[in-house]
């Protein structure tokens, strides 16, 4: 019964999360949170009004003709109007003219999107099957994108497995992310707030949960956040640091901490346990086992799991590895 109630609520557009969610402030366009969004929305509206004009023209004319010229005598045949060159030339030339204008607008707007300014603030993005990770210039890695409003930001993006696509509706920005290549996406955010961030290119089972958030902050506020986040581990005990990394680096996608089954083995009671691998060998899960599993996950794959874990080589420094080991140790109820 409550499904029905929920459906009706959704039908009327009143959903629980609706009120607080500012993803959609516009009637048919997301909120404008970047400098280029306004221009693109203007172009969207120009084309929209052109389409509405032509569409109404066609429908009104069709309606009139249907009303006016209904059949009376089954043998009556309409007048033999074969063609009218003047009319045909006009309704070819006018759409051609409009279409050329629309193309030019679109192309000019696109070129501003395509070429990033030289002094942009660079953030690296790595897309992998079903999670984003953002590496800030200070080396801090996070799964939420924070951007300042006082300078243009360029995302240098790559993927480690299949094609993804970084899509920021609020900035009207989208760029595919390719394995084996870099692709660039730049924007100049100017409206502080939190906006959704999607993966727009189909990438498999959890394609729809490969979403995150972009938090737009004022310049100083952003810098302050970054300094705190960069040495977050210093302010935490290793166990808390490990838990923080477990969330931020996407471990939670596959490894659970409450014993439930996932794509990867659960961390509960992992430390010190006997680990049986697919090729029959076994070993005790100690510190360097965990370290090896993070840096070269494919070398030893636990039986019953398939080797889908990407390597985190070069993305965990020693302090972070220590925190992970401490956290996993803390999950073993000795």
């Amino acid at each position: 019964m409550n499904l029905f109630v929920e459906l009706v609520a959704r039908l009327l557009g009143v959903t629980p999360a609706m009120a607080s969610d500012n993803a959609l402030r516009g009637l048919y366009l997301p909120p404008e949170a970047s400098t280029s969004a306004g221009h693109i929305d203007w172009m969207f509206d120009v084309i929209l009004w052109i389409c509405i004009f032509f569409f109404v023209l066609i429908v009104v004319l069709m309606g009139l003709f249907i009303m006016r010229y209904r059949v009376k005598d089954p043998n009556a045949e309409g007048p033999r109007i074969y063609h009218n060159t003047a009319l045909e030339v006009t309704w070819t030339a006018i759409p051609l003219g409009i279409v050329v204008v629309i193309f030019w607008l679109g192309f000019k707007g696109y070129m501003d999107l395509a070429v990033p300014p030289a002094n942009a603030y660079e953030i690296q993005v790595t897309g992998q099957k079903w999670s984003w990770s953002f590496t800030y210039p200070t080396g801090h890695v996070d799964n939420v994108l924070h951007v300042p409003t006082d300078r243009p930001v360029t995302l240098i993006m790559t993927s480690t497995d299949v094609i993804h696509s970084m899509y920021l509706p609020a900035f009207r920005a989208k760029m595919d992310v390719f394995p084996g290549r870099y692709s660039k996406l730049w924007f100049d955010a100017d409206e502080p707030g939190t906006y959704p961030l999607f993966c727009a290119e189909y990438c498999g089972t959890e394609h729809s949960s490969m979403i995150s958030e972009v938090v737009v902050q004022e310049g100083p506020e952003f810098d302050e956040w970054l300094t705190v986040a960069s040495n977050i581990l210093a302010t935490m005990t290793p166990e808390e640091g490990g838990k923080y990394l477990w969330e931020k680096r996407g471990c939670n996608q596959c490894h659970s901490v409450d014993g439930s089954a996932g794509i990867g083995p659960t961390f509960v009671n992992l430390f010190g346990a006997q680990r049986a691998f697919g090729d029959g060998t076994t070993t005790v899960a100690d510190e360097n086992y965990i370290r090896k599993s993070i840096l070269e996950p494919q070398s030893q794959i636990v039986a019953g799991f398939d080797g889908v874990m990407p390597t985190f080589q070069g993305r965990f420094n020693d302090e972070e590895l220590g925190a992970m080991i401490a956290y996993i140790k803390s999950l073993t109820s000795s």
Partner: protein, 340 residues
Amino acid sequence: MSDHGDHPDYLGHHYDTPEQQFDSGKFGMWLFLATEILLFAGLFCAYAVYRSNHPEIFHYSEQFLDRKLGGINTVVLITSSFTMAMAVRAAQLGKNGATAMFLVLTILGGFGFMGIKKVEYEHKWKHGLLWGNKYQDQEHHDGHDGHGGEHGDEGAHDDGHSLNLGIPGVTMAHAADGAGGGSAGDHGEDASQAGAAAGDGGDHGAATHAAGEHSDAGGHSDMSASDKSAPIMVDGEEIPHTTHETGAAAPEGLAGADDKHADDGAPAYVHIFFGIYFLMTGLHGLHVIAGLIAIAWVLVRTLKGHFSAEYSTPVDLVGLYWHIVDLVWIYLFPLLYLIS
């Protein structure tokens, strides 16, 4: 295929004149040949794109192909195309004996072609010159070494992993040569309008490697080898080897490129050339076999006396198919065997 001589009178019930039936058959066959041309167009496009992206692979790998055998094959196929044309002529004149003789000659030509191809494939199979992961690096340079010189390798690079027979499931770290990379890779300027990231100007600057565009209608557009980056492997540390005016240092989060030279001068991903080689010549070989079957079928019908001066359309249509197969080889030969 599309012949209708199924009842004694060779004219289909829905045709008015034999003329109409012949023209329809011929036009239908030519449409089918257009689809064959477009089928191979896909492979020519793959060849063109990869040759423009990795010209050094094509120059390096070309030395493993035996030009003599390729040349003989071309001559064999052209002569069998000639005998097929003579067979069609004899069939049109109703001389079944001559038709049969020429058809047999054509079939012999076809078998000759496939025989030589078998020799070539065996040679490659033995040396491990195969596609994808089955490709084995060539430790020695056999035959002429004309291409080695181009690959003087300066710049520090460690001994990347050679592309050995990867065991399925184990991540196959493939060394890759960035189109720039340390070797004097041939990457010309990138004249694109959005600001040229001037590569460090390989030895032959704006080397134009017009790709295998074999249509006289479409002019040969000058496609300079772009120094677009190619997939790269590195085992951990990045080696900033070549200085680029615009290129910032490799973002530390992402491993930098290294230039793998398993042995003296072999560029990375050479298996791509052999992947394309086997796809093109393999598909062409399949079409030669299909042609041989069709010719055999027409030979049987000739010997059974189905054809006469009034009706020999099937011989004509099979002839057209055989000529298109020869036409595709005429382009394959220079593209694969004669890359200078």
